[in-house]
Chain length 153, copies 3
């Protein structure tokens, strides 16, 4: 299956991507290298999961937030790349930022919400390097932010 | 206008870049891909904006700090690349690290201090992807740190 | 000396790399660009340095943790790249994440534990760009996490 077919199979309809609210852009392309700006767990322009892991956001909510972030990354990619998602030959890296208390330790579980979806949609090409860290706060009180780099075929 | 002309037009004189105080370097170049180390809001070797957003650094001071960080990124680039700033064909990504309290939410406003300058200097080529996050602390108590990746023409 | 010879000279035996515990992978390769996932200061699958700088981890322990992280980055690289470490032509960037209190300021000293080893092993090719930040928490309470990008010859 292509990524587009996998998304359909998973019942995921990519949203219209949000426009950055500043002078930056959502996606840059240079040669085969594609960089997607950090995306928040937004639905219809509203942050769906706010707060901190280890305090007022559960592990399951955090996983859901990471998945939403990746859906928004894919939505940006899909409109920015000629050929859409199916032109991606590899996810190189996902950066996962988890808003968390100092005592929180299960960042990997949260970020798996994004990583598992990446593999479900792209198969082997979706198996990415990643760095996952806990941060003191994120824009608009989002619980998670995910950025990504991709390689075009 | 070239980036060099735009800087002049903006009245910005790039400082002599600071030497890294360790075994790393400020800039690496590989093929067309240029990576610049995280830069702090330093003037003449002294951090000009210290502290935390949401506590003892105002939004306007934060924006100013982000702008200073980008000026230092450009200063490093300008001396490291054959041809200087005008050899850059695209800013691929800026990473913005905002030292902030857990309750802070306006990271994007702060980082716009860097993003707006990038576009003022490079025009369309300055429209970059970015990831902006809040961090618990930064080297030397800096309020902001900015790193960047660039593509050469 | 090659990196492999330098490691031997330094008395460092690369451990068997840890398998990621999720759907991501340790290393992606695209063209000449290699990305290694964030590595923790683990020895034999156990995090050797936990806690926070500025609180319960000393500067020297932090430096040691950063060095361990880089050893694990190199262990991943060595098995993932055809030709192993000696096929690396340049370390492009190291990302250093230091779990730290808001008051901590000496992130650079900690990260030098990784940077110094990079140069000891790779010589000039090991002189990398880097971004070092303080984070509120890291996976499994690790004190430091290091990720890297590399260029193949």
């Amino acid at each position: 299956m292509t990524p587009t077919e996998s998304l359909k199979d998973l019942g995921i309809i990519l949203p219209a991507p949000m426009a950055p609210v500043a002078t930056y852009v959502a996606v840059t392309i240079a040669g085969s290298l594609v960089t997607v700006s950090g995306q928040l767990p937004a639905i219809d322009g509203k942050i769906a999961v706010t707060g901190k892991l280890g305090q007022d956001v559960s592990l399951e909510e955090g996983r859901h937030a990471a998945r939403l972030c990746l859906i928004n990354v894919l939505a940006q990619l899909n409109v920015a790349i000629p050929g859409g998602l199916d032109a991606v030959s590899r996810i190189l890296r996902l950066g996962g930022f988890i808003a968390a208390t100092p005592a929180f330790t299960q960042h990997a579980v949260v970020m798996n919400g994004a990583s598992d979806l990446a593999v479900a949609v792209f198969g082997e090409a979706g198996r990415h390097a990643r760095a996952t860290i806990g941060v003191s706060s994120l824009p608009l009180d989002a619980a998670v932010e995910v950025e990504g780099t991709f390689w075009l075929s």
